[in-house]
Amino acid sequence: MATLPRKAPGKDVAALAFERVSCAFAGKTPGERYTAVSDTSLSVAPGEFVSVVGPTGCGKSTLLNVAAGLLAPSSGRALVDGAPLEGINSRAGYMFQADALMPWRNAIDNVTAGLEFRGIPRGAAAAQAREWLARVGLVGFESRYPHQLSGGMRKRVALAQMLILDPEILLMDEPFSALDVQTRQLMENELLELWSANRKSVLFITHDLEEAIALSDRVVVLSAGPATHPIGEFHIDLPRPRDVAEIRLSPRFVELHEAIWRVLKDEVLKGYAQARH
């Protein structure tokens, strides 16, 4: 929402930062503790697109929930524009891996939800929502309920629902993992287009290395769980604007992929071995 006062962050202040964040959960038996994330420090500069890759079940989503303020870390803290985060992160928009639309609201009422919570009059909110639905390519689908939309369309609605509030930080938790490859590449290109029009800070979680490289300015590799922490960081110096399908064929992409995969591979194998036990 454009009405919220915005601090102009200095160049060196990260839009989002984790300071030695650890998250432990109670285990299955009393007294047992499971450390999902351990001593993780990570930052996202204003306007930067950062992807976090790691093997399945390594606590990537835990990290994102901390950034969203949905989960308080066991130790350490999250900073937003340099200020410690308390409660829900109101500067962030969150796109979930699972379907998060309200099934009893049609597309347009789902998109207006955030504006409605902020007390914006119905008419104005609906006008904005129509614009956003058009921007994500859903003209004519305003009155469809989520179950009447395809997986890709539901993701578009979720994207519009998040972006209509104009958040400074986008938190995305494997948002396209449930989509087929073609729809996925379309969505990735659309995301890049929307992002480059109005550069927001993005923390993008994925297990798909190619997706991470194609989208990001920086890729962070996490270790296999438990006690996940970053073990590698790569700057992606591919030129923008990018087409996610074409960029995969460029030599530099292949080079980066090889370099990151060398680090990621061992962790994936570790994660796989653990999952089998």
Partner: protein, 274 residues
Amino acid sequence: MRRPDTDARPGRGRLALWHAAILAVLFAVWYGLTTPGIVDEAYANKIAFFFGRPLQVVKVVITWFTSGKIYPHLAITLWETLLAFAVGSALGLVIGLWLALSPTASAVAEPYITAMNAMPRVILAPIFAVWFGLGVLSKVALGVTLVFFIVFFNVYQGIKEVSPVVLANAQMLGASRRQLLRAIYLPSATSWVFSSLHTSVGMAFVGAVVGEYLGSAKGVGYLILQAEGVFDINTVIAGIVVLTIFALVLDFIVTKIEARLLVWRPRAAQTEPM
């Protein structure tokens, strides 16, 4: 859950034919067994004493409607049903919401809720008659005790099963606790209430009729009670027939309302009209 079938369903006509045929056979057997001449007269009269005679029953029903004698009784029963349904649902919704959202209150109330639900509530009818008299109120009270628990448990379950992702998403979109209640919990709970609508309307109806039967001065249950007192089995069965038709009509209305209110519910293999 039952679903209203779409008009295009193939074999619909044949299905109706089957329904009619079964009904016709039942009537024929009933008529045959109670008519002297088809069966030995002594047997026919005995069977008729216990089961009534179909033509007599139809005659009673027709006289009720043509003379208008039935309308005030039907109106009373309907009124009791509606009141019991409305009050029971409202109480179930409010208390279900409250207990589901407040762990302490739910922990305190839990044994009482379980006990009250386990109790055969029809047994309360004499007490309600003492408290509220023989009029409408005592029947409504009985219906409320029946409806309340159905709605209550459905709302409670509905709140507990709100998708955590949908909830987290609404929080991220900036919903306050109050707004979460309005935008997430209530719609989710009401959808569960609607899915129990058939049962709860049926229960409200049961409460009304049983209440009337146990002591009243009006209503279809009262008509049945009176006829039973003089062994007028034809009138008793006529009352049962009217109640059954009435229940079917209520069920039909509920199905229509449900289809309208739950449009957002996914249905298996739904196609779009072109």
